[in-house]
Symmetry: C2
Subunit: 155 residues, 2 copies
DNA sequence: TGATTAATCTACTATTTCTATAGATTTTAT
DNA sequence: ATAAAATCTATAGAAATAGTAGATTAATCA
């Protein structure tokens, strides 16, 4: 499961991107609109900034903007930044590799072999889906759900 | 990440299956061989029994045995039993569905759409790989790693 | 240059989940 | 009866997650 931190980060990024991502948005506004505890959001946005995903401007007329484009921001990157390894066991993680504690022989561990396969399938999705893609899906889904007008009805 | 509980459960099952699964194995033996805290293992094995994966015999000459065959025991089932939902957000979990807390419209959530896709990819692996398959991979891997004998060398 | 605005920094606190244990009880075999 | 082994009840400690308070720094604008 994603932590609240990771979900908040993704929601905040979606919000900023949805607003264009270019002019400074206030922490307070993002917190209010996305129902995120303000002080917690501060921590999160700062981390995203330090990682180079966001940039900020202090003082009056300040706020947060995207540093990367929405096509450059991958879900996997944000989730790893907030929660650490995505893989189910540390011994198959690329970015956060650690040997499993009492593992006798990593090379012949059947479980590890399955988990490595799972990691591949997971990374294939999370390292390719971008923030832009999430926004596109959002739009597409709300179009499909929208009440049909005469012009869109069956013709 | 898997909890220690889930890892211990999988390791214990592997051990029992590796011994044939038919004659009673002692908690104490499994704990010792797999480096699992004995009292913690008690809890785990009991849960596996209550779920119908294992069966047990009390008293002298007692112990734990497999109730299901190794082909019937799916990794996904064990992980869900120990850790709960595998999906990254509760709103796409089949077995442990809960709406995300401040989600406005689940049907049009772009993130949820991606997470549902990821759940499919994950379940496809974890609900199909069995304990038997893990043991097969273990064997295959240790064969491949084994020091080559004259007869197995290049002919 | 002083007031105001807004991010940033330092240092916590609370809550929940995970990991683990102690000790008594029940069941079975011999 | 006795011993062996699972089972039950009830906690306890440790770690991770979630959230907060208050002071500081930077930028704008009047």
């Amino acid at each position: 499961m994603l932590s609240k931190k990771a979900k908040y980060a993704l929601k905040a990024l979606e919000y900023i991107a949805g607003k264009g991502g270019d002019e400074p948005l206030l922490i307070a506004e993002i917190a209010r609109e996305q129902h995120i505890p303000r002080k917690f959001l501060e921590v999160i946005l700062l981390e995203l900034k330090k990682d180079g995903v966001l940039r900020s401007k202090m003082g009056k007329n300040g706020g947060y903007m995207l540093q990367l484009t929405t096509e450059e921001i991958k879900l996997g990157h944000i989730i790893r930044l907030m929660d650490g390894a995505i893989a189910l066991v540390p011994c198959v993680s690329f970015k956060y590799y650690t040997p499993c504690e009492e593992c006798i022989d990593e090379a012949t561990c059947g479980l590890r072999n399955v988990m490595a396969e799972l990691r591949e399938a997971t990374n294939k999705i999370l390292d390719n889906v971008t923030l832009a893609e999430v926004l596109r899906r959002e739009k597409k889904l709300s179009k499909g759900t929208r009440k049909k007008t005469n012009s869109s009805k069956l013709q």
